[in-house]
């Protein structure tokens, strides 16, 4: 019999629609659920797969365990399979599903047997269901098989029924989000028959235990569990359907479940109970832990257990809350009321009633304060339901571990020393004062160590007081019974003050601890607000985080090409250079989930990898590990994770800010280049159109009114035409020169040339422009020859000179200066014009640059750019500066190995002058 629970789409459940919207492109999960092994899950799965294959679906076997059964093996034939990969762990080779190969192959549907399987260490994920989740995330549909005993929330129920506890569990959310859950059901009798026929695979080692498991009673119970679980699921789907179709029904009102957890191993069971309760009511639930400020901070083990419980609750879908407070019950009630909790799940205490009598029972107080909230007190059964036996081991370890005895001996020592001292001075003090003085060691021990030594000090002090100072001296006997009262008061005062002092110390420690964390966060945030450089931010993140978590830190950020790379690290980061490590970082960056040590994913990594997330974006990855690769798993405690999370959030914000700034900068640059293009176009249009306008105007005048012009007028018009044409020619030449420089096609025809001569030619050419100006020339007596292209050099100089003339008042002098440096000669042109803003000094050499306020001075805007191109092609440097009298443009040219007089004559250097004359 096969009972199907097919969720046939489309059911208009708003949540489902929303989930669909959120997870577009996600693969669909089909779970073949059975009550136990041997019901034929794999067989049914393969059969269905064959059907799909016939329908033309691209089906691939990712992992199927046939256990050598011929019927199953026959079904495997004909289905394409991805061969498993082989992993070596501790010298043994294991076969595992090849997740990477499946992802690379990207089939439409993949078969993954045994969802609850735990992968061999070294695999990408610790659990196979995590592999499946990744496949689903990649948009691949998955068929998988599962036994009911592996469902997380049923885990302890199954253990109770069968007496066999299963460590491999699958979170309920997988079943809840599954597209289809198909129950494979056969009557237990049939299953037992199959077992007898050897059709059910049993691992040899566990055969005896397994036979124990396959008892009719167990099988009936498991079958009932499976049927009920599926029925519940069907019910919730029916309800969702009815709701979405506005069909009335008795819907549970807004319930909210809260479970109170503690370091007790029994809490895990409580969490599961609350989970089931919440699921039954379709209510949200929270898991709460109240941390006492005086909780023993040194008890790492208890803290670790609490963080494990919180993680379990989170995995099961709870919201976790950690409160701090001395009065546990009151804190719980306050939270419950604030969050409108309707049901509280709390464990029945395991400790002796005496303790409750002394300290008051939390459960009692919760019940008393519940006030309308239903309280479920769940009796614990210690020892039976511990997670994988770990806590038990831990407890044994703690018992075996000898607490350091030094503080006790020291406390007793102090009492002894005090006694020796008092023995000498007792007669001066009187008995009452002596008794009081014995309180000192008690207080000291409490503050210095803890309650234990302080109690030891109290007892030792009492004994010493009795022995040495209470008559009869040097005996423990008391003659006066009133001393009994004294002792009792002494002991009470000693223990009470000792406890208070101890608590105070712990609170101080806790406060200090929190304060350091807060201070670290504050320091980081302040540092990040101040810097805008990505490198600097990365560096301060790495160092600050490393300091705060007392470990080694590396920060991965994507580089310009989008590839993740180590941007900064605290100290040595050779450990992240490993390709395996960067693969983990890549994974975290891609999925935005933490991975690596201390998590369920890729836990073989050497560090914990935490994503820097901001909203939906992952901006980078923070890798953290204990110093020197060693370290306990306690390094990855909840506290540290929370701190790490806060750091990650801060870092993400900082990185995002820098990124945004960079983007803004790019946008600004784009706008600037846009402005430049417009300027270019404006400049060229103006420069081309003006001469064109005067040419066309003059020509049309001549054409239309030929007879009215005098010969003088006609000549003037012709001259205008000629000048305009020359002006256009200049522009065209400049544009061509610029194009040549920019395309790298400028060829230098270098010869030895005389700078003085170059200056002379330039001045001669610009006679018209420089008309009416005094041009001063200041030069040393002998200027060395330079190895250059004299024609281009002359053009560069002419451009500088005409620029100097253009931007200075008519008639003002222009100064040309030649200065000799070692290995270079400097030529400068100074005018009496207005300066330009210092920020623009570099930009004057840009194409089409116009000094502010000089927009209307005519010119191509290319002269200085061309001069710069020419000088730089000669290996020289050109710059502009504001000087008191005006603007100074200067350039240097390298002077290398000036030829001696003889060689100069031999090579015919003077010919340069002749050549130029002819050119």
């Amino acid at each position: 019999m096969i009972m199907e629970d097919r969720r046939q789409p489309p059911e208009r459940d708003p949540d489902a629609i929303l989930a669909d919207l959120n997870e577009t492109g996600r693969g669909k999960l089909t779970i073949f659920l059975g009550a136990s092994a041997g019901v034929g899950k794999t067989y049914t799965m393969l059969e269905t797969a064959h059907e799909r294959l016939r329908q033309g679906v691209d089906v691939v076997i990712g992992w199927v365990e046939t256990h050598g059964r011929p019927e199953t093996e026959a079904l495997v034939q004909g289905l394409p399979a991805i061969p498993p990969k082989h992993l070596t762990y501790k010298g043994r080779t294991f076969r595992e599903m090849d997740l990477e190969a499946i992802l690379a192959r990207r089939p439409e549907l993949v078969l993954v047997d045994e969802l609850a399987h735990t992968n061999v260490p070294g695999s990408r994920h610790a659990k196979r269901y995590l592999d499946v989740e990744e496949l689903l995330a990649a948009g691949i549909d998955v068929y998988t098989t599962l036994n009911i005993q592996h469902v997380e929330s049923l885990n302890d129920v199954v253990a109770k029924i069968t007496g066999v506890s299963v460590r491999e569990t699958v979170p309920d959310r997988l079943l809840e989000t599954a597209h289809q859950v198909q129950l494979i059901d056969i009557p237990p009798e049939e299953l037992l028959q199959r077992l007898r026929e050897g059709k059910v695979y049993l691992p040899e080692v566990a055969e005896r235990a397994a036979r124990q498991f396959f008892r009719p009673g167990n099988l009936h119970a498991l079958r009932e569990l499976a049927l009920r679980y599926t029925a519940q699921k069907v019910d919730s789907q029916v309800e969702a359907y009815m709701r979405s179709h506005a069909i009335d029904g008795p819907w549970p009102a807004g319930e909210r479940v809260m479970v109170c957890i503690s370091p007790s191993p029994f809490s895990a069971q409580l969490i599961r109970v609350a989970r089931r309760m919440a699921a039954g009511m379709k209510a949200p639930w929270l898991a709460v832990y109240v941390e006492r400020p005086d909780a023993s901070w040194e008890d790492e083990e208890a803290r670790e257990r609490v963080s494990r419980h919180l993680r379990l609750a989170e995995e099961l879908g709870a919201e976790t809350v950690v409160l701090t407070g001395d009065r546990v019950a009151e804190e719980l009630i306050r939270l419950a009321k604030r969050r409108n909790v309707t049901q509280i799940v709390i464990g029945k205490p395991l400790h002796s009633p005496l303790r409750d009598w002394i300290r008051g029972s939390v459960v009692d107080r919760v019940i008393r304060g519940s006030d309308g909230i239903r309280v479920h007190v769940i009796p614990g059964r210690p020892g039976q339901l511990q997670e994988g036996g770990e806590p038990r081991k831990g407890r044994a370890k703690r018992r075996a571990l000898p607490r350091s005895q030094a503080p006790y001996w020291a406390a007793v020592g102090i009492v002894a020393a005090l006694t020796a001292l008092l023995e000498a001075v007792a007669p001066l003090l009187g008995q009452v004062n002596v008794a009081f003085l014995y309180l000192f060691p008690v207080l000291f021990s409490a503050v210095r160590w803890s309650v234990g030594p302080s109690v030891a000090a109290a007892v030792a002090g009492l004994l010493a007081f009795d022995f040495f100072f209470v008559p009869p001296a040097y005996s423990f006997t008391i003659t006066d019974l009133r001393y009994g009262l004294t002792f009792a008061v002494f002991l009470a005062v000693a223990v009470l003050t000792g406890r208070l002092a101890d608590r105070l110390r712990k609170q101080v420690e806790a406060a200090r601890r929190r304060e350091t964390q807060t201070a670290a966060l504050y320091a980081l945030s302040r540092q990040m607000a101040a810097v805008i450089d990505l490198d600097e931010i990365a560096h301060s993140i790495a160092t600050q985080v490393a300091e705060s978590v007392e470990g080694e830190v590396a920060l991965f950020l994507p580089d310009d090409t989008g590839k993740l790379a180590v941007k900064a690290a605290s100290g040595d980061f050779s450990w992240v250079a490993d390709s395996g490590e960067s693969a983990v970082a890549e994974w975290v960056y891609h999925y935005g989930e933490p991975a690596g040590r201390g998590t369920q994913t890729l836990q073989e990594a050497r560090a914990l990898y935490w994503p820097l997330r901001l909203e939906r974006q992952t901006l980078g990855v923070l890798a953290v590990r204990p110093k020197g690769d060693s370290g306990e798993s306690s390094f990855f405690s909840r506290d540290r994770r929370e701190l790490l999370n806060a750091f990650a959030g801060l870092s993400a914000a900082a990185v995002a800010r820098v990124r945004l700034e960079e983007q803004a900068k790019v946008a600004r640059l784009a706008a600037e280049s846009e402005r430049l293009r417009t300027a270019l176009l404006d400049s060229i249009t103006h420069e081309l159109r003006t001469p064109l306008a005067s040419m066309i105007g003059s020509v049309t005048s001549l054409l239309e009114g030929d007879q009215i012009f005098t010969p003088k007028d006609r000549r003037e018009l012709l001259i205008t035409i000629y000048q305009s044409a020359r002006r256009m020619n200049r522009l065209v030449t400049d544009l061509l020169d610029m194009a040549r420089i920019e395309s790298g096609m400028m060829r230098l025809n270098k010869k030895w040339c005389d700078l003085e001569d170059v200056i002379g030619v330039a001045l001669a050419r610009l006679e018209e422009v420089l008309e009416g100006r005094e041009v001063r020339l200041d030069r040393p007596s002998e200027i060395p020859l330079v190895w250059a292209d004299d024609v281009l050099l002359e053009q560069a100089l002419a451009n500088l000179l005409s620029n100097a003339a253009k931007f200075s008042p008519a008639g003002s002098p222009i100064c040309i200066t030649v200065i000799l440096h070692t290995g270079a000669v400097e030529v400068s042109v100074v005018n009496r014009g207005p300066g330009i803003p210092p920020a623009d000094l570099e930009r004057v050499f840009e194409k089409f640059y116009r000094a502010p306020g000089a927009e209307q001075v005519s010119g191509t805007g290319l002269g200085l750019a061309i001069a710069k191109g020419i000088i730089e092609a000669h290996g020289g440097r050109i710059w502009a500066e504001n000087v008191p009298e005006g603007m100074r443009f200067a350039f240097t040219l390298p002077v290398d190995e000036p030829p001696s007089k003889e060689t100069r004559e031999k090579e015919g250097v003077t010919g340069c002058r002749v050549e130029r004359g002819s050119s």
């Binding site: 064109l692 005067s694 105007g697 205008t720």
Partner: protein, 241 residues
């Protein structure tokens, strides 16, 4: 020719000033030159010219500002010189009271024709009893329109529109000026109705409404009433169009 008229040329380009000077003088005008807006305003104030030729791109101030300054106290005709990139500025200048415009580069014939229209306009009185544009006669007193002697029936709006265009014949009227004159200041943006009425008017008075000869479109600027065989507003400038 309307000899003796005094023209102030305001343009920063020496070559343009030079050929304008030579050509205008040869055509009997007297020219005064200014290289920037400030100097131009001074010359306009001092010389009291009959017409101003104003370049829109001046080094010290925008042509429109110069125009506004002139319009504060003078109704002297102003012809704008603009380049194609200055459409917006050109329309602003026309709306601010410029009489006409030529786009650089322009033929001398075109400029001379615009100068003649502007000068003639300035010389005329504000109201003419009868306006004649080519074949079209508008009797303002009797609100009667005839085309080649035959009466034309016009709606009141069409009549107002035609009268506005005709009384500024030869001169460009911007959309805004027309809308303001015919419909009132509240309708300055309603270019759509203007286009509709112009089309209706053309169907009634043009020989070929698809190729209008009387009401000519000035793209992006407005309309101009021409007199095809009047000779006044001719566009005889070969080579530039």
């Amino acid at each position: 020719m309307s000899g003796g008229a005094r023209i102030v040329v305001i343009d920063d380009e020496a070559q343009i000033r030079k050929f304008l000077r030579v050509s205008l003088r040869a055509h009997g005008y007297e020219t005064i030159e200014a290289a920037d807006g400030r100097e131009g305003l001074r010359e306009v104030t001092v010389a009291r010219p009959d017409l101003v030729i104003l370049d829109l791109g001046l080094p010290d101030m925008s042509g429109t500002d110069v125009l506004r300054a002139i319009r504060e106290w003078s109704e002297v005709p102003v012809i704008i010189l603009s380049v194609r990139e200055q459409e917006e500025e050109k329309i602003r200048a026309l709306d601010a009271g410029a009489d006409d415009y030529v786009t650089k580069p322009f033929g001398m014939g075109e400029l001379l024709a615009r100068i003649r229209v502007a000068l003639r306009h300035a010389a005329k009185g504000p109201e003419e009893p009868v306006i004649t544009v080519g074949p079209l006669t508008i009797d303002v007193g009797q609100r009667r329109v005839t085309l080649e002697g035959r009466p034309v029936k016009l709606t009141p709006t069409e009549y107002e529109l035609l009268k506005t265009l005709a009384s500024h014949r030869g001169k460009v009227m911007t959309h805004r000026q027309l809308l303001r004159a015919v419909w009132g200041p509240a309708y300055e943006q309603d270019i759509h109705s203007l286009r509709v009425y112009i089309a209706q008017l053309r169907r009634k008075i043009e020989r070929d409404p698809a190729r209008p000869a009387l009401i000519v479109t000035e793209p992006g600027v407005g309309y101009r009433m021409m007199a095809p065989w009047d000779g006044g507003g001719g566009r005889a400038d070969p080579g530039t169009r």
